[in-house]
Structure formats: structure tokens, C-alpha cells
């Protein structure tokens, strides 16, 4: 297993002896996710998955100190090659980041490559600053219209 760390991106790879499709399915099946998407300090996880592009997921990791909620939206579901979803958690400061998972078949094994990147503020959908600008523009447009008439 290797890990490459750049300035705002984390890349982690692992070769797993299993077909790409089987590993890919483990990412979208809620029962499977609840099994493995659970850190050692969590007693159990509750998972909901809407496995389609634009669909949301929620993974709640239950810890002795309380539940930790992770949410996101699937951006790309290209079985069994590529999966991309936004990722938001209290640890990420409730800041949307992007996780891309690639599945490269290699003989009887599959190399799984996870790239987790922080999105620049401007690229965040629904970001407050973006909405403020949009609302200002809308207000200007409406005002200009009402002055014109």
C-alpha cells in the first residue's frame, strides 16, 4: 500500500485480490458499507444510500463519544471503473470535499485508488458566498426591470 500526499489532495492505493465489480459493489451496498466503512473506534454504523448519480448517502459512525455523521452526493457512478462523491463530515469542518475511487483490474486483483481532495471555496455547490452573489445579481436584475417599466 502506498500513500501520496500533495498540498491539498490525499491519494491512497491498495491492491485487493478480488474482481473490480465485487469491490465496486461493496461501495454502494448499504449493508456492506456498514460493515467496512467503520473505524475501529465506532461500535457500529448506520448507512443509507441512494445509489444513482445525484443521489445522496449518509454514513453515521456511532462512537462512545456520540454519533458522527458523514454525508455526500454521488457525482459519478461508472461500474466497475470509477466512483466519485462529495464528502462532508465534522472533521472536514462541514466543508465539501471530493472523493474519487478508481478500480484498475490487475490480473486476479484490483488496484483501488482513492483520491480525496479539498474543493476550492468557489467550486462548492450551494456555498454561502456563491449564493450571496447570485442573490445580489438577482436583486439587481429585478430592480433594473422594475426601473425600466
Amino acid at each position: 500500500m502506498t500513500a501520496v500526499v500533495s498540498i491539498h489532495t490525499v491519494t491512497v492505493k491498495r491492491k485487493i485480490v478480488a474482481p473490480a465489480q465485487q469491490i465496486f459493489d461493496a461501495w454502494l451496498n448499504p449493508t456492506a458499507l456498514a460493515e467496512w466503512m467503520r473505524p475501529g473506534n465506532a461500535t457500529h454504523a448506520t448507512v443509507t444510500v441512494d445509489a444513482r448519480e445525484g443521489g445522496a448517502f449518509e454514513i453515521v459512525m456511532h462512537r462512545a463519544s456520540g454519533p458522527v455523521r458523514h454525508t455526500g452526493i454521488y457525482q459519478t457512478i461508472d461500474a466497475p471503473r470509477r466512483l466519485a462523491f462529495t464528502w462532508n463530515s465534522p472533521h472536514a469542518g462541514q466543508h465539501d470535499s471530493l472523493v474519487t475511487v478508481e478500480f484498475h483490474p490487475d490480473g486476479k486483483a484490483t488496484e483501488v485508488v482513492i483520491t480525496h481532495e479539498r474543493l476550492p471555496e468557489a467550486a462548492q455547490p450551494g456555498h454561502t458566498a456563491g449564493w450571496t452573489v447570485l442573490l445580489e445579481l438577482l436583486e439587481k436584475t429585478v430592480n433594473a426591470d422594475s426601473h425600466a417599466t
Binding site: 491539498h8 491498495r14 461493496a26 473505524p39
Partner: protein
């Protein structure tokens, strides 16, 4: 007035400031030693104006501090926000490495029980 910045806002600013190669090079230069603005500008094949803009972004992200000594503006590195950013990276590197190990264990168990199932 001191503007309040939440840790998350500060982290956002640090990450966007560090996303640019020239700004990273400026940070690397300041990691060696403090320098004044003209010294920094001399190190890079861009205009003084462009370098000033990059420095302002680094100051806003609180990655660089400026002290005025007479006519000289001395820039120094402030490693605090960078440490926060690398903490984020380290957290997720560990998180995904652990998750991949656990994914492998899960898939292997699944395959083993499928094989047993086939035999019976």
C-alpha cells in the same frame, strides 16, 4: 477591528492560497529565511506587482506575516495554518488507508464464504 475567522474558514483560505505553484514557491523561499518583498520578487520571473498580489493572498490566509522595519517590509512564514492543513491531510490519509484495509478484509471474507457456499 480583528476579523473573526473560524478554523474552517482559515483552513479554506490556507488551502486556496497553497493551491498555486508560485505561492508555494514563495512559502518555500520564506521557510529558508525571512525576506523583504523586493528580494522575493527578484527570485521569481514575474512582475513585482504580480508577486505583491501573491503575497497579499498569503497574508490573508495568515500563512505569511509582514513586519515593517523603516522602509523595509520583512516577510516571514507563519506555519500555524499550514499545520492545520497538513493535519487534515494526515487525518484523511490514515482514515482511507484504514478503510481500504477493512474493505479488503470484508471482500476476502465475502469470497471465502461464497466458496464454502459453493462446496455445500
Amino acid at each position: 477591528m480583528v476579523e473573526y475567522k473560524s478554523p474552517s474558514t482559515r483552513l479554506d483560505a490556507a488551502f486556496s492560497a497553497m493551491a498555486d505553484p508560485t505561492r508555494r514557491a514563495i512559502l518555500a523561499r520564506l521557510a529558508l529565511a525571512d525576506a523583504c518583498v523586493t528580494e522575493i520578487a527578484g527570485d521569481f520571473p514575474v512582475s513585482l506587482n504580480a508577486v505583491s498580489k501573491h503575497i497579499k493572498m498569503l497574508e490573508r490566509a495568515e500563512l505569511v506575516r509582514r513586519t515593517v522595519q523603516g522602509r523595509d517590509h520583512i516577510l516571514s512564514l507563519n506555519a500555524g495554518p499550514m499545520a492545520e492543513a497538513s493535519e487534515w491531510i494526515e487525518y484523511y490519509r490514515q482514515f482511507w488507508e484504514d478503510r481500504l484495509a477493512s474493505l479488503e478484509a470484508f471482500v476476502t471474507t465475502q469470497r471465502n464464504s461464497a466458496k464454502k457456499g459453493n462446496r455445500t
